[in-house]
């Protein structure tokens, strides 16, 4: 069947197509075996598709922890600072004594600072995910995909030029791929 890539954002960024081999797996352990073999054979830039995140796949890939957490941290700190600035500066800008309390009284402002921490932290986490995944997609280029990968199949795409494609194909088949395609 004709493969159309439903990736409008990647199309928008116009990532160039990458030649390579796509293996479709029906079993999780076959997928992890293939990942280990690919890594042993010196491949580093392949893409693994899975319907759900699995620690087995993560472990086999040996990925570093996602940098998204830095986005969360920076966003949270920025939010807290904005909350403090908002409340203290606005109070000082038009100083009115309310309820006999100091113009800039910290305890009630903690509520605003807390909410802004959460708000900015969450927004920058989302930005972090978008930024990092788009960056990864841009790096990988436009690659083969199969609609079964969101249902019950696992997949591995190995970018390979004409010289290496046959070797990558046999490696995926040996690991138990039920289907191997070139693209």
């Amino acid at each position: 069947m004709a493969l159309t890539l439903p990736k409008p954002l990647i199309d928008l960024l116009n990532a160039p197509p990458t030649p390579g081999v796509l293996g479709v797996f029906s079993q999780l352990d076959g997928t992890t075996d293939a990942i280990k073999k690919l890594r042993a054979a010196g491949h580093t830039d392949f893409t693994v598709y899975s319907p759900i995140p699995r620690h087995e796949i993560e472990g086999a890939l040996g990925q570093a922890v996602s940098p998204v957490r830095m986005f969360t941290l920076v966003g949270g700190i920025a939010g807290c600072s904005v909350g403090a600035w908002l409340t203290l500066w606005m109070s000082a800008d038009w100083p009115i004594v309310v309820g006999g309390k100091p113009v800039g009284s910290i305890p009630p402002y903690v509520v605003i600072m807390f909410e802004m921490t959460i708000l900015f932290g969450a927004l920058s986490t989302i930005l972090g995910i978008l930024f990092n995944t788009l960056f990864a997609a841009r790096r990988a280029g436009t690659i083969l995909y199969d609609p079964r990968f969101t249902n019950d199949r696992f997949g591995i795409f190995v970018p390979a030029g004409a010289d290496k494609v046959a070797k990558a194909e046999s490696l995926l088949r040996d690991a138990g791929a039920e289907e191997v395609r070139r693209g």
Partner: protein, 449 residues
């Protein structure tokens, strides 16, 4: 796990197809429900037009009761919104596998309930076109909001809660929309291709997604506890007897989660039946929700006892009078409805037969909703009506058709969004339900998940 209790083998493929099937062409029953919701919303809109034309005097406000049904509904809907984030974020951090089948519904309910709640302060202020005065913006008079006021805290809390819970819902939806996209045809495929923003389930996507999801859950957890605390401070910061109590924050949070779990049961029961999701949302899930109801209902019951005990033990005559007025004054029926529905009814859930009987749970959940609405009514209206500082002004407040019209409209508004959501987007998480299933393996080594 669903597969152990059912004769159907629940596989990845079964999960995807069963949930994707819920998005087909709607039945006549669905259109009837949607029509009823829109009709209710129409009642609310017409009432609002009357309020705009003739003013808030059409509602039952009377001195000293200037916070009444609209604020009651506001707190009620914010409360409903709370179990969604509890189930999606707090239980996620606790690694509770059962949440996967119910959390999407709960989360959607959260977003729409906050959307509903947000309407009430706007209706209540009477001059909706001045709502932006709440927002700190530079203006020609150099005025800024009073950040010492709990009402401003509330605006920040509800605004943050709405933003974060919406982001959390959308984020959880993306892999599922991609799964539906890969099965869909025609215009639906185009819609889902656009809304799944290029999701393919690649390892890089999952790597950033799972980490980000964890941090969003970690941020949403304190947020959910803070939001209803802040709502409770709208009252607790004031000196009105019956409001001015330190127990208010935990008491409101427990009550919010209690009412939210009740609403989740109310919504899930018909959805499960209509969409044929019996294999995915099992009796076990309902039982767990019932246990949450039992836990939070017990906390609410304990808070009632505490309130009355402290009113007596504290020795403040105004406080004593306020609580006497609550239980034996002209609003005794509201107070006792609240106590029976919230403190005594959940005790039935100690019985396993009740917890595992979905019809019984559905009936109880409706009483939970009624009880929690009356709890807010009692706290807000009855405390104000019986407040002791202007005894010459006390008057019994009675809601009018305008109050009920707006309230009916809010239910219509909520159910309209909810029904549109469940028919257009996966109402049960496809990828997370798969996460609690055993993955397909070729070897005999079936490690437990």
């Amino acid at each position: 796990m669903a597969e152990q209790t059912s004769p159907v083998r629940v596989t990845y493929d079964y999960v995807t197809r069963t949930i994707a099937r819920t998005l087909g062409t709607p039945s006549r029953g669905y259109f009837l429900l949607l029509g009823a919701a829109v009709a209710l919303l129409g009642v609310g809109v017409i009432t609002l037009l009357f309020l705009l034309r003739y003013g808030l005097g059409l509602a039952g406000y009377s001195h000293p009761v200037y916070w009444a049904v609209f604020i009651t509904c506001f707190v009620f809907w914010v409360g409903i919104a709370h179990s969604g984030t509890l189930i999606s974020a707090i239980l996620f951090l606790f690694r509770s596998g059962w949440r996967t089948a119910v959390y999407r519904t709960a989360e959607a309910m959260t977003v729409f309930a906050v959307m509903t709640a947000g309407l009430f302060p706007l209706i209540h202020i009477g001059r909706q076109w001045y709502f932006y005065w709440l927002i700190p913006y530079p203006n020609e008079r150099g005025l800024w909001p009073n950040f010492k006021s709990p009402l401003i805290w509330d605006e920040f809390a509800i605004g943050t809660y709405f933003t974060v819970s919406t982001l959390f819902l959308i984020m959880g939806l993306i892999p599922d929309i991609a799964a539906v996209r890969d099965l869909a045809t025609g215009w639906r495929k185009k819609l889902y291709a656009l809304t799944s923003i290029g999701w393919t389930g690649s390892n890089e996507q999952w790597r950033h997604y799972t980490r980000g999801y964890l941090y969003l859950a970690a941020l949403a957890t304190p947020l959910v506890l803070s939001v209803h605390s802040v709502v409770s401070w709208d009252f607790a910061m004031a000196l009105v007897p019956g409001w001015h109590a330190t127990i208010f924050a935990p008491y409101f949070v427990a009550g919010a989660i209690y009412s939210g779990c009740g609403m989740v049961i109310t919504l899930l029961t018909p959805i499960r039946r209509l969409f044929g999701l019996e294999e995915i949302i099992t009796v076990k899930h309902f039982e767990n929700l019932a246990k949450l109801c039992l836990l939070t209902g017990s906390i609410v019951g304990y808070a009632y006892v505490c309130e009355y005990f402290i009113a007596w033990y504290g020795g403040n005559p105004n406080e004593r009078a306020a609580f006497w007025y609550r239980a034996f004054g002209p609003y005794w029926w509201a107070t006792w409805t609240m106590i029976i529905c919230n403190a005594f009814l959940p005790l039935l859930l100690w019985i396993k037969k009740v917890r595992t009987n979905i019809t019984a749970l559905f009936v109880i959940s409706i009483f939970v909703n009624i009880g929690m609405w009356f709890e807010r009514y009692v706290i807000i209206v009855v405390s104000l009506a019986g407040e002791p500082y202007e005894p010459w002004a006390n008057a019994v407040y009675n809601p009018t058709w305008a109050d009920w019209g707006i309230m009916a409209g809010s239910f219509g508004w909520f159910f309209m969004w909810f029904l549109l959501f469940v028919k257009n987007f996966p109402a049960v998480s496809i990828s997370e339900v798969k996460e609690v299933l055993a993955p397909p393996r070729s070897k005999a080594s079936k490690a437990h998940v």
